[in-house]
C-alpha cells in the first residue's frame, strides 16, 4: 500500500525537474509592448501618439460643462454652482496648468521617433510633425495662462548626483514662446497632409490655424499691453514690446490667408441648411463632410470615448435623464446679438413709455436678430429633439399680479375657474430651482439632437471643435484691421456675418475694435475663446470691474468692447390671463435679477497671468513670480 503512494511522489519529483531556469523564468510579458516592438510598426506608433492626442489641454471642453460657460455669459442652473455667482472673482491660481510630464513624454516621443529606423520616411515625418504640433499646442496653452515658461525641448534626465541645478531652467520671455509656436507651425506645415476631411488628426490647416491664432494673440498683447503697464515683468516673461505688434499681425494674416486661399485643403463656411440658425447649430454636431471644421477632439459612441455634455445641458422637460439645463445663457449675452440691420438694441420688453409689449408667440420678441442667437441659445418657444421647450414663468392677471408656482409645471386655479391648471413651465424658470432655465434660456450650441445623447448609458459623440474656418476668417479680419487694411477686414467679417443672416455688408469704415471684439463674442461663444480674448486685449479688468449691474446698465452701450459683464441677468416670459382683454393669451417679458446672483465679478490684474505654484518656485528658484501676486 505504501509503495503505491511512493511511486507517484517519486514520479512527480522527477517530472518537476526543470532544465533551463533562465528561459523559463525570464519570459517577455504578454500585456506590455517593449520599446523595440513599438517602433517597428505604424499602427503601434499611432496608438502611442493617440495617448498624447488625448492629453491635449483645452480651457473649455464638452467633457466638462462649466468650462464652456462662465464669465457671466451664462448662469449655472446647478445647485452646486451658485457659489460661482456669489463670490467676487477668481483666485490667483485659477486656470493654472504646469504639466511638464506631458512635455517630457512628447519630447521622448520625438527623440525615439527620430531614432527609429524601421518606419517609412513618410509616416515618420508625419508622426514627428504631429508630436511637434501637440508640443507647440501645449506651450501655447501654457503661455496663454502662465506667461513665458521654461522652454524645454529635450527630455531631461536627473543623474541622481544630488545637485539638480542643471535641470533648473528660467522662464523664457512671453514673446519667445509665441515665436516658438509660430516657427514650429511653419516648420511642420508642409509635412502634414493638406486634407480637409481629416479632422481628428493634425493637418496642414490645423498647424496654420494654430499659427494664426498664436500670432494674433501675441500681436494683441504687444499692442494692447500698453494699456496695462502693471501686467508686465521687466525681463519680458510677461508682456511683449509694442514694437513687435505689426510683425505678429503680419504673420497672423499670412497664415490665415494660406488657409483661406485653399492651399491647405478645401475649407469653407458651413452652409448646408437653409434655416440659418439650424445651420449654425449644425456646425458643431454634423460630422459628415463638414467643410468648416479644421481640428477637433473627436468622440465615438460605443467606443468608451463619449461625453455627457448633452446630459448636463439638455432641456429638463422630457429629458432622457432626470437632469439637464445647467448652462443658462444670460440676458447680457442674448442682448449682444445684433438686429439684422447691423444695429444694437435691447430685447424689446417695453415701449419707450415703459408699457409692456405684448407678443402673440413667445419667440416673436427675438425676431429680426442675428441667426446665431437662436443657433447658440435655446429660446423660449423653440424646440429640441422635436419637443417644444416649456419655458414660461407664470400668468400675469388682469390686475397685474403674478400667478406662478414653485415646482416644475405646478398647477393652480386661475381666478374665475374651478379646475387647477399649469401655471409655470416644466422647464421653469423658477428662481433657485436647479436644472430649470433660471435665466429664461437654455444652451443650444454643442447639444446633440440624436436620440439617446441625453442618456447616461449612451451619451454623445458630438465632437469638440478646436479650430474652425470662421475663426480663421475672424483672425484674418482682426489682423487686416490692425494693419490698416480695413476693406479686407470688412470683407472677411462680412463672410462670417452673411452666413448668420446679416446680409447688409459692413463698410470698411464700419470696422472698429468694438466690432472685432463683438463679432468674436457672438460667433465663438461657449467655445473656450472668451477668457483668452478678454485677456489678450487687456479688457478683462474693465468688463469685470467688480461693480454690480443694474437694469439700466444692462441695455446701455451694447456692442461696446468694454461693456460691463459682472453678473448674469435673466429674461422671463409671462402669459397674460385676462379674458376681457384683447391681450389675453399673449406674452410679455420681464428683465429679472436672479436671487442666487449676489456677487459681482472682478478680474484682478493678478488674474491676467495665473500664479505659478510655490512648489514649482521652491524646486526651481530661477522662476520669477507673475505680476500682482
Amino acid at each position: 500500500m505504501k509503495k503505491i503512494f511512493y511511486i507517484p511522489v517519486f514520479l512527480m519529483l522527477l517530472l518537476s525537474w526543470s532544465c533551463n531556469d533562465d528561459a523559463f523564468l525570464d519570459r517577455p510579458p504578454t500585456s506590455i509592448l517593449s520599446e523595440e516592438q513599438i517602433w517597428l510598426d505604424d499602427s503601434q506608433v499611432l496608438s502611442l501618439l493617440g495617448n498624447l492626442y488625448n492629453r491635449y489641454y483645452d480651457i473649455g471642453t464638452v467633457k466638462d460643462w462649466p468650462s464652456l460657460g462662465g464669465f457671466n455669459e451664462a448662469f449655472f442652473s446647478n445647485a452646486g454652482s451658485y457659489g460661482d455667482f456669489q463670490n467676487s472673482g477668481w483666485n490667483l491660481d485659477s486656470w493654472r496648468t504646469w504639466d511638464y510630464t506631458y512635455i517630457r513624454e512628447i519630447n521622448l516621443f520625438i527623440q525615439k521617433c527620430t531614432a527609429a529606423d524601421k518606419l517609412s520616411a513618410a509616416s515618420k515625418d508625419r508622426f514627428l510633425a504631429e508630436a511637434r504640433f501637440l508640443r507647440a499646442s501645449y506651450y501655447f496653452e501654457l503661455v496663454k495662462r502662465m506667461g513665458g515658461v521654461p522652454l524645454i525641448l529635450e527630455p531631461l534626465t536627473y543623474d541622481f548626483g544630488g545637485d539638480p541645478s542643471y535641470l533648473q531652467q528660467p522662464r523664457a520671455k512671453e514673446s519667445e514662446i509665441y515665436d516658438f509656436i509660430i516657427s514650429e507651425a511653419e516648420a511642420i506645415k508642409s509635412k502634414l497632409p493638406a486634407n480637409a476631411t481629416e479632422k481628428s488628426r493634425v493637418t496642414m490647416a490645423a498647424a496654420l490655424a494654430m499659427e494664426a491664432r498664436a500670432a494674433i494673440y501675441a500681436a494683441s498683447i504687444a499692442k494692447y499691453g500698453v494699456n496695462t503697464p502693471q501686467v508686465t515683468l521687466t525681463s519680458g516673461e510677461v508682456g511683449i514690446p509694442a514694437t513687435m505688434a505689426t510683425g505678429y499681425y503680419t504673420k497672423a494674416l499670412a497664415a490665415a490667408k494660406e488657409i483661406i486661399s485653399g492651399k491647405a485643403g478645401a475649407y469653407a463656411l458651413y452652409t448646408k441648411k437653409p434655416d440659418l440658425s439650424e445651420n449654425f447649430a449644425s456646425i458643431f454636431y454634423d460630422k459628415a463632410n463638414n467643410s468648416e471644421v479644421i481640428f477637433v477632439d473627436d468622440f465615438k459612441l460605443k467606443s468608451g470615448k463619449v461625453h455627457g455634455f448633452t446630459i448636463s445641458n439638455q432641456p429638463r422637460y422630457g429629458a432622457e435623464e432626470e437632469e439637464g439645463g445647467r448652462i443658462n445663457p444670460s440676458l447680457n449675452f442674448v442682448e449682444a446679438f445684433e438686429k439684422l440691420d447691423n444695429t444694437f438694441a435691447p430685447i424689446p420688453t417695453t415701449n419707450a413709455a415703459g408699457t409692456p409689449l405684448y407678443y402673440t408667440n413667445q419667440v416673436d420678441i427675438f425676431a429680426g436678430r442675428d441667426a446665431r442667437l437662436a443657433g447658440t441659445v435655446m429660446l423660449p418657444g423653440t424646440s429640441f429633439k422635436g419637443r417644444a421647450v416649456d419655458i414660461w414663468a407664470g400668468f400675469q392677471l388682469a390686475n397685474g399680479t403674478i400667478l406662478s408656482g414653485d415646482d416644475r409645471g405646478a398647477q393652480k386655479t386661475l381666478p374665475g375657474k374651478t379646475v387647477p391648471e399649469q401655471v409655470v413651465g416644466f422647464d421653469g424658470p423658477i428662481d433657485g430651482f436647479e436644472f430649470t432655465a433660471q435665466s429664461g434660456f437654455y444652451l443650444r450650441k454643442y447639444l446633440d439632437p440624436v436620440v439617446g445623447s441625453g442618456q447616461r448609458g449612451v451619451q454623445s459623440e458630438v465632437w469638440f471643435v478646436r479650430y474652425r474656418y470662421a475663426e480663421v476668417l475672424l483672425n484674418a479680419a482682426e489682423a487686416a484691421f490692425e494693419l490698416g487694411q480695413t476693406a479686407d477686414a470688412a470683407g472677411y467679417m462680412n463672410q462670417v456675418r452673411a452666413r448668420a443672416g446679416l446680409v447688409t455688408p459692413l463698410k470698411a469704415s464700419d470696422v472698429t475694435f468694438d466690432r472685432i471684439v463683438h463679432e468674436r463674442r457672438v460667433e465663438l461663444a461657449f467655445e473656450g475663446h472668451y477668457l483668452y480674448d478678454m485677456k489678450r486685449w487687456r479688457i478683462a479688468h474693465l468688463i469685470m470691474d467688480g461693480n454690480a449691474i443694474n437694469a439700466a446698465d444692462l441695455s446701455k452701450d451694447l456692442g461696446k468692447a468694454t461693456k460691463r459683464n459682472t453678473q448674469p441677468w435673466g429674461l422671463w416670459s409671462y402669459k397674460i390671463y385676462d379674458p376681457a382683454s384683447q391681450n389675453n393669451g399673449k406674452w410679455i417679458y420681464k428683465v429679472i435679477r436672479l436671487s442666487r446672483v449676489t456677487g459681482a465679478d472682478r478680474f484682478q490684474f493678478g488674474n491676467y497671468y495665473t500664479s505659478i505654484a510655490d512648489e514649482v518656485i521652491n524646486n526651481n528658484p530661477k522662476i520669477v513670480r507673475n505680476p500682482n501676486q
Partner: protein, 240 residues
Amino acid sequence: MFKRKDIMKIRFQLFSLLALSVVFTSCEKDNFTAPKSVLSGNVVYKGEPIGVEYDQVRLQLWQPGFGKLAAIDAPVSQTGSYSAVLFDGNYKMVFPKGRGPFMTIQKDASAKDTLYVKLAGNQQLDVEVLPYYMIRNAQFSGGESKVNVALKLEKIITDVNAKAIERVSLYVNKTEFVARATNIVVTDVAGADVKDLNSINLTATVPAITPTQKYVFARVGVKIKDVEDMVFSPVQKVQL
C-alpha cells in the same frame, strides 16, 4: 420588555463601541499644538488706518528656515485691520506687488519694503504705508431716501509717482459690508469732474428696501487711475 437576547445584542454592541474608542484614541505625541500667537494690527498712514474693500487686499507672511516656502495670507478687513494666528518665530511680512491703494515704504536697499517680525506671544504691529490719497472728514447725512456725503481728499503722493483720480464713488448697502460688489446703489463722480479736492459732494437715492429698513450703511471710495484697489472711508450707518 427587552428579551434576554436583545440585551445580549446591546451589550455586544457596547463592547464593540468600547473597543473602537480604544482603537481611535490618538497618541498625544503625533499631534502638534495649534498655533496661538496672534499677530494683528492696522495698515496705516501716520497712525490712521486705511479703509479698503472686504477681502481684496492681503498681507503675506513668509517664514524662512523650514524648507519649502509658501506664503501665509492675512487678509485686510474693511477697516484696514489684519490678523493672523501663528507659531512663534521669525517672519517676513510683505504686500504682494501692486496690491492695495498705496505704495509701500522702501526702508533701504537690502530690506526693501519687507517688515521683519519676531513673534513671541501676541503682538500688535501697524504697517505704515504711503497711500495715494486719503479721505478726510467724510460727513454723511441722510433723509428722504437720500444719502449725502461731503468729503475732502488729501493727495499724499505728489512726486513722480503721483496718480490721478479716476472716480469718486458713494456706495450704499443694507448691511455693514459695503463695496463695489455689494451695494444697493452707487453714485459716481468722474475724476475729471472733481474740481476742488477740498469740497466733494455726492448724493445717492436709496431704492426701496425689502424688508423695510430705516437706515443704510454708506462709505465713499476713491478709484485711483491704474491702481486696482480702492481707498475707502470708514463705513457709516445713516438714518433715512
